[in-house]
């Protein structure tokens, strides 16, 4: 049972301001599902970049409604991966998934639900995405920020999208894989 915090320190922890809680690019999140008005002709993509293990990934910014600091989740009995657990998002029970498995990567999520759970690493975030079946969360190791790119710079997979990979963005430091969040939840 946890309601009771173990120490004063733990209580204070919840109130401390941390600059890294401010996820980057929040101000640029569109406030509604209506596509933001763009000047005609410019067809640039807004991407939210995040990291999983050593890899860099991105999803279309419009699909993300909120970025939460990772927190411990409530375990769902008999749930199978990639479902990690649920959290209560202002009264809406929101399932949280591990995207790594879908991408064929080893999971980097520490035990985050149930009795053995650890305090999530400071940079970890939960991206809340809007789906036809209500909100869902994706646990990511870090959020990099928002990037605007011209569609031409995105290398599409030959022969159309494969799986949930929409394209790859070649950047100086590393390549960024742009994925479909709905596919990650499947």
């Amino acid at each position: 049972m946890s309601g009771a915090p173990a120490s004063v320190e733990e209580v204070l922890e919840r109130f401390r301001y941390r600059p890294d809680e401010e996820a980057p690019g929040l101000a640029e999140l569109p406030s509604s599902s209506v596509a933001p008005d763009r000047p005609a002709g410019t067809d640039e993509l807004q991407l939210l970049n995040f990291g999983l293990g050593p890899g860099e990934y991105a999803v279309a910014l419009g699909t993300v409604t909120e970025i939460l600091r990772a927190r411990t989740l409530t375990e769902i009995p008999r749930a199978r991966p990639p479902l990690l657990g649920v959290l209560n998002l202002r009264g809406t029970i929101t399932p949280v998934y591990d995207p790594a498995l879908r991408l064929g990567l080893p999971s980097t999520v520490p035990p985050c639900a149930g009795p053995g759970c650890e305090r999530p690493p400071r940079p970890a975030r939960i991206l809340v995405v809007r789906t036809a079946l209500g909100p869902a969360g994706l646990w990511v190791d870090r959020v990099r920020g928002v990037q605007r790119v011209a569609p031409g710079t995105l290398e599409r997979p030959r022969g159309g999208p494969t799986g949930g990979v929409i394209g790859v963005l070649q950047a100086a430091e590393a390549s960024v894989t742009v994925v479909d969040p709905e596919w990650l939840l499947r």
Partner: protein, 664 residues
Amino acid sequence: MSPARSRPPPEFASEAVETAEALGRNLLLLEKSSADPDPEVLNSVFRQAHSLKGLAATFGQQQMAELAHAAEDLLDRFRLGKAKLTPARLDLLLEAVELFQRLAEHPASVQDEARILAGRLSSIDEGPERIGEDPLDRLELGPEVRRVLTEFEEHRLRETLRRGELVWSARVEYPLESFDRELEQLKARLRGVGELVSTLPGPAADRIDVLSFVLIVGSGAGEAGLRSVFGPVPVELRPVPVRKERRPGAEAEGAGRPVEGGEPTAARTLRVDIARLDALMDDVGELRLIGEAIRGLSDARELSPRAWTVELLREQRRLVRRLDVLQDRLLQARMVPLRPLFDRMQRLVRRMAREGGKEVVLETSGAEVQIDKRLVEELSDPLVHLVRNAIDHGIEPAGLREGRGKPRTGRILLSAEQLGARVVLALADDGAGVDWARVREVAIQRGLLDEERARAATDRELQSVLFSPGFSTASAVSAMSGRGVGLDVVKTNIAGLSGVIDVESRAGEGATFRVTLPVTLATVRGLLVGVSGRVYAVPLSSVLDVMSHDGRHGVTEDGRRMVPVRGYNIPVASLAETFGLPRRAEGGVYLVVVGVAERRLGLVVDALHGQRDLVTQALGPRLGQVPGISGAAEVGHHHTVLVLDVGALLDEVLRGPPLLAAQA
């Protein structure tokens, strides 16, 4: 406005249709007495049109708002005696009712018709102007009374005088806690004797627990007749004299104020007895005192730390006690009778039977049972589903029924009964019953069960198939019964209300769907139990017993573990095992005995963490039905626990593992 933007939300449509239906019913009542329309019915039709206008305007349904406005305006003229109610005009209004219903559902399709009808309604001529002097001016009513009379009340007084009846003023006192009921009853008793035209505040009463009223009554009955209507209550009754001559200058003072607007419309409002609110105010007063006491403690420097702690704890206990009382009273205030919901089903049955060409009557019992307002709202959809199901698939066509030796008219019984902290709603039809053989076949076709298991399954075991999502996709059911009705949705909705649904069917005799719900949802009292380091909440309404358990049990022939509890052997299951959690080193072990209807189960848990009031939330469509879990509730900062679905656990343990795995 673009068509896309003008598409009304579903909650608008349902409320608009409901209001329009009520309006239509009242118009039909008026039809029977169009020569001398009952002012009360006329008034309520007027208010309904007004509500509809407000509703339509709120949701940006301009065409409906305009039509409702035209109807309201005409009805206002009827009730003020400015226009005459004729059968032809009534037909126009009934036409408007039809249009309201179509506008609510498909606004785009009937825009033009609505515009034309609104025009016709507004073009109805004013009735003949009143000629000569106003008879009201000869009535010896003080200017202070004349000033507060509404235009409608003035009209009713004129009608009284026109009929050659007398206007009476009656001064009465009614107890504060029951005056509204008393006035309603008086109004009912006056029917046929006279008419309560206006209820005005009377002079201050001597006692503080009574309210004094001056009632303006129109009546042709003599004083004795009128007095008997008032019953044993002391009443100062006097006729209002009518002067022979008109008092000059009276009309200036008597200028009526504008007609009062309608009542706020919304299914989300709640009528609360004023006495209940008063009690709540008392609680708040008490809480303020506690707040003061705590503030006082904060600068009580003379106290030793120990004494200070004792004082603080004392105040804390007072606070908790008072909060408990407050919560109880608020829960009480949220309780409403099921009657409106039952009435709605009554209308639904009538309409559906007509549309489906079937003969069906709905009988109800237990409409007075009270449940939480929010439950009533959330219960509506699943109940509509079940009623629709019963009519579509349960009740046979009249001819077929006769052939089977049943009465032509199908019968559906909707009943409610309160059993402790639970309410059991049952919907029983005398139709064909569930075709289990067909269910078995479809389950195999859909790959929900393998053949062997399906053949071996008893009808009761097949229940869970009936309620599973895979079963009721449109194609599966259309093959079976012609319509994609999702019983899984009903089950999910009910589970979201911490309820359980069950079906009992006798082939050829009918089916009974039974829904067991907690009385209130605002909070569910839950017992928090610990299992392998996890915490789950068990709704206290299904906990029958809690005891320590030494882990010993007997085993039946078919491998079920049983434990004797108070002289009976009941099946037991370890929650850790059921949920596939690692077993923990044996610590204190408890048995939580849970039950739904006649079934019992002992759940073995490792810890008890006390009781909590929980506000439960559904797990949502993405997770769908999670076997054994009905919802989640927050018990502390960012700490969410899952609430056990006792009914599903019973099914699972008593009938074998869930037929469908978690939709993770």
